[in-house]
């Protein structure tokens, strides 16, 4: 039944061990997702894989380094305040590439379409993708379309892949954080996740929150022109800031300390999170980045971010430490401390 799957290393709940299935949490971007990659995919690919768990993979080719990334988009609903699945798909892969310090050059787009999906919706999505690519200066060069039976596709699923070239002398990746580094976020957190929840069935509320989906390659270029000493760039998508910071802490084997009071959060996002009992630190973002850089460069980077239209509300939210490696710790509003753990499955609204 579990042909060849070795569950030894999993910390799986007993039920999963007995009847293994994918559960929604596997797509959440938190611990379950990471486990699936580490314990199912990587061993299966074995020597044929060289995954380094950063946003995009670095591939050395003929003296250049390519940053190569792929991402799939299954968001529901397809259209939400501030955007649709199309621009999410384009911006998402652009951002993964940019987080390596590379300028994205080309993208591919694969569509899995559900039988019955209205063509005008698909056209609107495609137009958004074209606009997003143009905005970012990226070319859509390859694509594919498949159709699945009605009832098997949520309208459309989109995969985008792409690459860019990492300039010489740039070495940005999740393993590079150093004790003393400053942690800067480019703007308000939680916008995208709340925008989605605001229209999802069963959890509607008349919110003024829009998704922050945006291509960050322009902002990254600005930052790199300010200094090349940036150590880490990540865009905190699924699993939110908390998961991203945990991944970095683990990859770099450093501790991270953040100050809750310094996190930029829109009032309406905060209110929505209070209402649903969610923590903005775990809510997805699609147009924000986290930069980790030496303290000497922090103020300049902050100023450069704030000068950019996508970084107006940038803030320094914490620092890297040699203490408690692998752990992210937050100073709470009233002066206590708490550990900010990685998200487990999906963050669910709660009543209690």
């Amino acid at each position: 039944m579990s042909e060849g799957l070795n569950f030894e290393g999993w910390s799986c709940p007993l039920p999963l061990r007995d009847h293994p299935n994918i559960v929604m949490g596997h797509g959440g971007g938190g611990k379950l997702s990471a486990e699936l990659v580490e314990h199912l995919f990587l061993p299966a690919f074995a020597e044929a894989s060289a995954v380094d768990m950063g946003d995009a993979a670095l591939v050395a080719i003929g003296g250049a380094r390519l940053a190569f990334s792929t991402d799939s988009f299954v968001v529901r609903p397809l259209f939400f305040p501030g955007g649709n699945i199309g621009e999410l798909a384009v911006n998402g892969t652009i951002n993964d590439i940019a987080m390596r310090g590379a300028q994205p050059l080309v993208l591919s787009a694969g569509f899995i379409l559900e039988e019955g999906m209205p063509l005008d919706q698909l056209a609107a999505i495609a137009r958004s993708m074209g606009a997003a690519a143009r905005r970012a200066g990226v070319t859509l060069v390859a694509g594919d379309t498949k159709v699945v039976d009605r009832g098997h596709g949520d309208g459309v699923y989109i995969n985008t892949s792409g690459f860019g070239i990492v300039p010489e002398g740039i070495d940005i990746g999740p393993t590079r954080a150093q004790p003393g580094d400053a942690i800067i976020v480019s703007g308000t957190i939680g916008d995208h996740g709340i925008a989605i929840l605001s229209v999802r069935e069963g959890l509607e509320f008349g919110a003024t929150v829009e998704s922050d989906t945006a291509p960050l390659n322009g902002l990254v270029a600005d930052l790199l022109s300010e200094t090349r000493a940036i150590h880490v760039l990540r865009d905190p998508t699924r699993g939110g800031m908390a998961s991203t910071l945990n991944e970095i802490a683990r990859a770099s084997q450093v501790g991270i300390v953040i100050d809750e009071r310094k996190l930029p959060v829109q009032d309406a996002v905060r209110a929505a999170c209070e209402l649903l009992g969610m923590d903005p630190l775990y809510v997805a973002n699609e147009g924000k980045l986290v930069a980790i850089a030496p303290p000497a460069d922090a103020e300049r980077l902050l100023a450069r971010m704030r000068a950019h239209s996508l970084g107006r509300q940038a803030a320094i939210i914490g620092h890297v430490t040699a203490d408690h490696p692998g752990l992210v710790v937050a100073r709470t509003g009233i002066g206590g401390t708490r550990i900010v753990d990685m998200m487990v499955g999906e963050q669910l609204p709660r009543i209690c």
Binding site: F205, G206, A207, D267, A268, R270, A272, E274, R350, C352
Partner: protein, 89 residues
Amino acid sequence: MCLGIPGQIKEIYDMNGIRMGKVDFNGIIKDVCLAYLPDITVGDYTIVHVGFAITRLDEQSALETLALFQSIGLLDEELRSDVAEEEAA
């Protein structure tokens, strides 16, 4: 066990015979059932749990509580600084 958040009533209406309201939580507007607060009016604050307003928030009392917190330790501080002054003198 009771995630209850304060919000302000912006509008009251009827849905299928139930008294409902549009409640504003800092920019988030949610439809909330007001059936259990027949006397509440637009402009009042209420605590909402699972889509139901369960109590009117008494604003006067809220301010008094905050004033109490402000005053805690104050008398003690004054006494201690008085004593310190006396001892210095």
